[in-house]
């Protein structure tokens, strides 16, 4: 079982690396592209999708209880997909 907060930290680290790569790519696109509407439009579209995904995930992550744990590597596939059954106490002889 891995604490979910580690997964969150991993996500933040990967998004940070992604941010650096995006910055380099966008600079290359703008610097070397022919200045014009199409260059700026495609760069804007590229950045908008990234911002939308990061903000969307961020807003979902605000609702997650990060103190939980998760089983990342299942012992068997069957266990991983097993449905959890809640046991309800009911009187036997009613």
């Amino acid at each position: 079982m891995i604490p979910l907060v580690y997964i969150l930290l991993f996500w933040i680290a990967c998004v940070a690396i992604h941010g650096v790569l995006v910055f380099i790519t966008a600079i290359q696109g703008i610097k070397n592209g022919v200045p014009g509407f199409f260059t700026y439009l495609t760069t804007f579209l590229f950045l908008s999708v990234i911002i939308a995904v990061v903000l969307g995930c961020g807003s979902y992550f605000l609702t997650v209880n990060w103190k939980d744990s998760v089983q990342v590597i299942p012992t068997t596939i069957g266990d991983f997909f097993q449905e959890e059954v809640s046991v309800v106490d009911t009187p036997l002889n009613e």
């Binding site: 979910l4 997964i7 969150l8 991993f10 996500w11 990967c14 998004v15 992604h18 790569l21 995006v22 380099i24 790519t25 290359q28 696109g29 070397n32 592209g33 022919v34 260059t39 495609t42 590229f46 999708v49 990234i50 995904v53 990061v54 995930c57 979902y60 992550f61 997650v64 209880n65 939980d68 744990s69 998760v70 990342v72 997909f81 449905e83 959890e84």
Partner: protein
Amino acid sequence: MSPFHLPSTREDEQTIYLLRRHWFAIIPVIIGFIIVLILPFAAYAYIRFQYPEFFSIQSRLALFIVGTSLFFLYTWLFLYQNFIDWILDIWIVTNYRIVNIEQKGLFGRTMSELMLYNVQDVTSEINGFIPTMLNYGAVRIQSAGEASRFDFEDIEHPTVIAKRILELADMRRVEHQREGNRV
């Protein structure tokens, strides 16, 4: 495009062609990436359909969203890098020279030029069904005294452009000889 973008431009230099790769050349790449980008959504739909209770546990859904968002973000980045590789390949033909600007990956960029009076041979090539239908292909330019040649890949109307470059090269060669005789 004005000759402003070209290095060491002459006063009477005019841009005849600004050539980019044909739009269809990027379509197979975009289709490939769209299929890859759909995969996380397809995986979600499949799990949801096969194991309806799987995502009822919040930690599993959080893990899935962490994984798919990273997958999506990096795939989107690679798609844009491929797009940049495609759009930043530019060939400029002026009344004096041919400028070849090629993007190779994210950090590789080659810029070379060839004076029109050095052009010896120009060949146009259209290979395949779709290039024939959409009229795009390659123009290969062989220069005198140089081993390397210029290749314009996936450009529109290659036959017309090859013919025009030959005409321009002939004109420039005559003028170059005249200038040489004057000196």
